[in-house]
Amino acid sequence: MEGGNLLEVRGLSKIFDGFAAVSEVTLAIAAGEIAAVIGPNGAGKSTLFNLITGHVRPTSGQVLLGGRDITGMPPHRISGIGIGRSFQRANIFSRLTVFENVQAALLSHRGCGRDFWSRSETFYREEARALLDSTGLLGQAQAIAGTLSYGNQKQIELGIALAGDPKILLLDEPTAGMSAAETRETLALLKRIARERSLTLLFTEHDMEFVFSIAQKIAVMHQGRIVVEGSPATIRADAEVRRIYLGSVQ
């Protein structure tokens, strides 16, 4: 798939009780690209992510990863074939330690979950420490995850998502609920990790400063559809985007 599209979404729709949360969305993300989906609340961004990661089954359309059709696969299988994900609210294992959070993800992704006789503490200590190091959590490895700040919990989630060594990472509002300082740190962290691991990123975000400082491609969603797609410069200049965000009437 050298140079080809890593993730492709073709004519994807989801209709909830007659309401089209996502309709006819087509999107292609090239390997190594950093892409953002933006749009007002209720535009269907989270549903789009849930369709891609198997949490919601599409009404119609297709999702392809590296050319392979993954439409309708259950989440636990999709997470095993190269898609990592963080959720809108920090979705971690609250009463486990930070170390155990990341280690659990490593154990699962590397197929150790069926081992019911070895001591789990002895597995992947170095790998887990390396992940904590790269997400800036090494100092808090032994803390109970749920007691840390919200920003730290999002970092843990990133660590969990990276444990599967994903090709593409889907981040649903990576800075939601963060302070300005935490947002800046997250931006730096994501930039570095994407570069180090040559990751493909697809994220949704409300913070426009964040979006325009990292995204190479932006798709604007409105009422379940992608209305404009293009480079940051194109999006910045687009009248339709302004209309959606500023709500001006013709």
Binding site: N91, L107, G113, R114, W117, S120, I160
Partner: protein, 330 residues
């Protein structure tokens, strides 16, 4: 996470086990009776806690596998004259097999619906045992299940003078100890870590690649198997198997043991079982209002120590340590 065998800790479990071994010599016949009851209930409660505390699954029908194990062992030993050494593993496998079939449906539901379905299956099992006269003895039950042949114990040094009930106590203690060690090992394994991940966050667990239903089913089967083992021992201990072993109130009782002792800790349910059995014996000799006293004790515990007895003890020890540490640094 606590590491039970790290060098500088006191091996409490080993000490309790060694002390319990001496009961037939140091205690009365009644103490042996209590000891056997506690050991069996401890295994039953720990097996439930694999679901409750480790995986976060609230099963209201765990007694089904306890009762099925008791019937399988009892029927094999009494009706077919199968030796205990075969009847016991058969009870273990049989209970696990039923847990596999019932659990297959139960894990398709979550939360209260899961709990209700486990309850429904246990009530179906109870009704069948209550009515199936030809096999289970129906409402008459299956009295006079024979003791296993324990004459081989006479060959062991120091054991030749013991009563058969004392010998059965020692056998029960050994089997329960081995079972608890196995369960502890399972909970500490990568498989056990996946179960805790499911308890903490099933959605996230699925997105690190865990097939949540399948792991829940596996936990259900393991828990059912060990409950069956406890049931088999209980049938022999009680010299008979009766349909009320499967009645739903016993599911509540074992759940109280786990919560009372503390379901966050491996040994919590063991402490809960011991406490409940001893309290029951003590209080019923003073008053017939045992359920009332139990209710009050539970209320106090749930409000004062939501982590159960063991949770409260651990919190207390940590508090003392912090105070001690504070003084040293001051």
């Amino acid at each position: 996470m606590t590491v039970p065998w790290s060098g500088n800790r006191i091996p409490w479990t080993l000490m309790v086990f060694l002390a319990a071994l001496w009961v037939p010599w140091l205690g009365s016949r009644y103490d042996t009776f209590l000891g056997t009851q506690i050991a069996i209930d401890a295994l039953f409660a720990v097996s439930l806690n694999l679901l409750l505390g480790t995986t976060g699954l609230v099963s209201f029908g765990h007694v089904a596998y306890f009762g099925i194990g008791a019937y399988i062992c009892g029927i094999l030993m009494k009706t077919y004259g199968v030796p205990f050494a075969l009847a016991l593993p058969a009870a273990w496998l049989g209970a696990a097999g039923f847990a596999l079939v019932f659990g297959f449906f139960c894990v398709r539901l979550t939360k209260i619906y899961f709990a209700m379905l486990t309850l429904a299956f246990s009530q179906i099992a109870w009704a069948i045992c209550f009515k199936w006269n030809g096999v289970t003895g129906g409402d008459q039950g299956l009295p006079d299940v024979p003791y296993p042949d324990l004459d081989w114990m006479s060959a062991l040094p120091g054991l030749d003078g013991l009563r058969v009930s004392d010998r059965f106590y020692l056998l029960t203690l050994a089997l329960v100890a081995v079972s608890l060690a196995a369960l502890r090992r399972i909970i500490g394994s990568p498989f056990g870590r996946m179960l805790t991940a499911i308890r903490e966050n099933p959605e996230r667990a699925a997105f690190i690649g865990v097939n949540v239903r399948r792991y829940e089913l596996a936990a259900f089967v393991v828990a059912g198997g060990f409950a069956g083992l406890a049931g088999a021992l209980f049938g022999i201990f009680n010299r008979g198997v009766f349909a009320d072993y499967l009645y739903w109130t016993k599911s509540a009782e074992v759940m109280i043991m786990a919560i009372l002792g503390g379901m966050e800790h491996f040994w919590g349910p063991v402490v809960g079982a011991a406490t409940l059995v001893m309290l029951n014996q003590q209080i019923t000799s003073y008053t017939e209002y045992w359920p009332f006293v139990l209710g009050v004790i539970l209320l106090v515990l749930l409000f004062a120590f939501p982590g159960g007895i063991v949770g409260g003890l651990v919190a207390g020890v940590n508090w003392l340590r912090r105070r001690g540490g504070g003084r040293q640094s001051a």
